[in-house]
Symmetry: C2
Subunit: 301 residues, 2 copies
């Protein structure tokens, strides 16, 4: 209980990540934004509401195919790979993806694919110097956490199998993986009932924190012979297409890579998209703004 309280407090009340966000949203930064065209000033910030009750209309033929994923662009263009179920950008230094994008819809979630036929496998499209292996995880105390979730791709056995590439996997706290993170993945799937399409972008974060000397440090463990980086946090950015085609809703979450009590509501982990854009080195809003004139960023701030 004490543990999750601290975690939630860190994020919501500004002691940890909140401090980062606060530093980042200083007056000077706001001026900088205005200078570059006020990207974010055009994004109205609205409180979290109940899910829209409108039923989804599925318009596309190939349910979760990766081609459709690029509608709202990619948050970076480095080492982009296309898989059956997702598009990803690989970071050879951390031995994992920088981000993974999937498109979920009722059609992509239904099918007979079964994860019992799937096995975690090395990604041999990555040089052996920069690739993680199953051995790296063994005895590490971390789960092999999916970025693009297996259960999002029941529409095709191949699509589900592709989520088992270790390039789609990061070292994740087992309790988080099996509880709150799993709940967030379920939330993403449930949103397909209320939106036309649900684009989900997931990735690792390596966030700084203040140490005893008053300075900020990024510190993360590396595991195994290949020094696979253990993220300090994870992000999920949801791009939600409204059923009436009128606009797009954006929800962005940051969760720490540690146990979180399931009683903490997921909305507590909502953050401004700018926090993720600054910390990750990625950009979401500029691409989305090319595709819609109506973007609502859902956040508690």
């Amino acid at each position: 209980m004490a543990r999750w309280s601290r975690t939630a407090a860190t994020l919501v009340l500004g002691a940890g990540l909140g401090a980062v966000a606060t530093r980042l949203r200083s007056d000077r930064d706001r001026r900088d934004e205005e200078q570059i065209g006020g990207l974010l000033s055009s994004v109205p910030v609205v409180p979290v509401l109940a899910l829209p009750a409108v039923q989804a209309t599925e318009l596309t033929v190939n349910p979760g195919s990766s081609g459709a994923v690029m509608k709202y662009g990619f948050p970076s263009l480095a080492n982009v790979k296309t898989r059956e179920s997702y598009v990803t950008s690989y970071d050879p230094r951390t031995r994992s993806a920088s981000w993974v994008i999937e498109r979920l819809s009722p059609a992509s979630l239904s099918g007979t694919s079964d994860r019992k036929y799937c096995e975690f496998k090395e990604d041999d499209s990555v040089h052996v110097f920069h690739r993680s292996t199953n051995a790296d995880y063994r005895g590490s105390g971390f789960d092999r956490g999916h970025l693009a979730a297996a259960a999002n791709h029941k529409w095709s056995q191949k699509a589900m199998e592709d989520t088992f590439y270790l390039s789609n996997v990061v070292p994740q706290n087992p309790h988080l993986n099996q509880n709150t993170w799993n709940n967030l993945e379920k939330l993403c799937r449930s949103l397909t009932k209320g939106y036309l399409n649900v684009y989900v972008c997931t990735g690792p974060l390596y966030l700084p924190r203040q140490e005893a000397d008053g300075k900020l440090y990024v510190r993360y463990q590396v595991i195994g012979r290949n020094h696979v980086a253990v993220p300090t946090h994870f992000f999920k950015v949801l791009i939600l297409e409204q059923v009436d085609g009128r606009g797009v809703e954006l929800r962005s979450y940051v969760l720490p890579n540690e146990p979180i009590d399931e009683k903490v509501p997921l909305e507590r982990f909502l953050v401004p998209i700018e926090t993720i854009e600054r910390a990750s080195g990625l950009l979401f809003v500029p691409n989305i703004m090319k595709k819609t004139s109506s973007l609502q960023a859902v956040t508690h701030r």
Copy 2:
């Protein structure tokens, strides 16, 4: 004295980076290399010798131009930018370059350019969220350390000015910057007397070290409002074209981002190229091997 001894010992005797290199060069890794075609098994490792006495012949017209830099390929393809004096790959997460490549020759080193007309400037080709500023460095205790050195580009005032983009700059320990690092830059320039061309690739490293709990952690400071990453180490990879056109020599250095006594010979910081390739997420040898059948890797190991 105690400080540099420790530093040198860390690198040479295998307590710190040495330990990383040792872990990396395990038997299993060697088997992996063989499986992927034995890239490095084709690179003979030779001890450091005196510089060749042959005089350089300069064949190209435009002395240091960035186009010529790509002869031996790039160590990665993410966010590549071409400048007058160098080609670089930008890492928006650390707010600095992943690598910078220059080509040095006697012609590129001579000219009337003067750094007194140069000023450090923000790189406005980088989004404001991911860009470092002069303010980030102020009061940080770190120098604005050039990756591509200003003095390498006397051939053109514009080329010299381009080295002052803050995307070509990293937070560097002032003592290191002004002493041993400066000596390494001078060594690079002096090598133009003995080789046809000297290709220099420079970049930051974020190396793990073992902490009290026996686990490995990457830990680095971030400075300023934009959280500019302070590298734990730097690498320089020199690709030296022999005057007789017969082959290429490779020298790779890793220096810690801390004071080093100038009495420590630079050869003490030579490491196997594989150490840099694994730690940085970059690859040098595969590209070089496409251009030459004779590659000698100079190392003390």
